[in-house]
Amino acid sequence: MKKMIDTDLLVIGGGAAGLCAAAEAAGAGARVTVIESDLHAGGQLVKQTHKFFGSKDEYAGTRGFKIADILLDEINSLGDKVEIRTNTTVTGYYPEEGFFTAMKGEEEYYRIKAKKTVVATGAQERLIPFPNNDLPGVYGAGAVQTLMNVYGVVPGKKVLMVGAGNIGLIVSYQLRQAGVEIAAVVEAMPKVGGYWVHAAKIRRLGIPILLRHTIVEAFGDKVIEGAVIQELDDKFSLIGEPRTIECDVICMAVGLTPTTELFWQADARMLYCPQLCGHVPYRDETMRTSHPDIWVAGDASGIEEASAAMVEGRIAGHSAAKALGLPVREESFKEYWTRLDHLRAGEVGEKIRGGICQVLVDGWEA
């Protein structure tokens, strides 16, 4: 077993952001190691069967899992500059010694020493409190997608979807593609959070979207057999009669929060930012955190979309390569920011812009 590995650039997380950071830095000549805890690279992308929104530069109109293939092809075309280690989790950062620890599988540990690091660990799913929310059958939306879209396993017979944001809507549609019945989609807010096109698809399939409704309880002897839902008033107090819904899966699509443990361990400056869905590191325009050797990209920097995650990955990879002393194309940096601004323009980008301006700093003191 190798106890310590060395690399120029360590990329933690092989999702949309991490793969782009790796491709960009390797394109500039860096030796890159990508560590990915899943059994394959691609992150959220590999679970998505729908055609992505966003702009053409970020492969809008292409199905998510195919975007992952495009990025991996780009990386493969760079020869052996990038090494992707799957089934390996970065478990910690030791600032005094300046190395990371990694765990391959469950039992093989080693250390990684990197000159620069991009942390692109993505997001974690949220759960809301209700009695019996721990029974088997209460699954995160991502888990349901992994089951059915990656491994082809039927998640259940009948699903109650909690949350009508884009994820709840898209996963409901994907469940129907897999032949699973949806009892209903419940949403506490008075309007659908996701894009109109996705809601329309669900309604066309005859799946009820119950606005101002919440799950109050799950029930079942050992595993989920059903749920109780109820209406909410303007102040989110329960009104009306509770209703029982029979289902064997309750799918939680109530939001994501950035995965940030490693930033905390690195003592990066953090801020709780509701618009970005949790604690996130401050960063400069190059996506560098307050730690001079650590960059951030993707959902780990705030929950947004794959399109933005990919551009942020490019920016981080570009900047890290430059910091390694490698020659980079200076114009790329401006082009990437033009794309980001474009993605965040208009009404849809309002919330994100409001979040970003709180955590974006002019630069770090040397």
């Binding site: 059994l39 989790t89 469950e106 039992e107 088997p136 888990a143 491994y151 082809g152 396993v153 595993v223």
Partner: protein, 106 residues
């Protein structure tokens, strides 16, 4: 196994079919795919029982981040079965409580 037979967009390329055991019972699954997925395909939903309140637990995140899917695999407790690849002949067991370190177990 409960597998998706027909899908409008995806084509599933499963690997070799192998045999493993769950609490002594023989089951089939695909080599290299996560243990938790293979169990789910065999209609197994309960992966462990919690130490204090003895609550049944299945998986939740399926990305190795929540610890809901810990099981005893080949005598080793607390294995994240949602990200651990299935191997032929694996001995998978429901984990009761915290599990014992293999040395003590033997």
């Amino acid at each position: 196994m409960e597998l998706i037979q027909k899908h409008p967009i995806l084509e599933f390329r499963h690997g070799n079919e192998v045999t493993f055991t769950f609490d002594g019972q023989e089951m089939k699954g695909f080599e290299g795919e996560p243990i938790a997925m293979a169990l789910h395909a065999n209609d197994v939903r309960i992966y462990r029982v919690t130490p204090e309140m003895k609550r049944p637990r299945g998986f939740f995140c399926a990305i190795g981040k929540c610890s809901s899917c810990f099981m005893v695999v080949d005598g080793v407790p607390n294995v994240r079965t949602c990200v651990t690849p299935l191997e032929p002949g694996m001995k998978v067991e429901t984990q009761h409580g915290k599990g014992l370190v293999p040395l003590e177990a033997k």
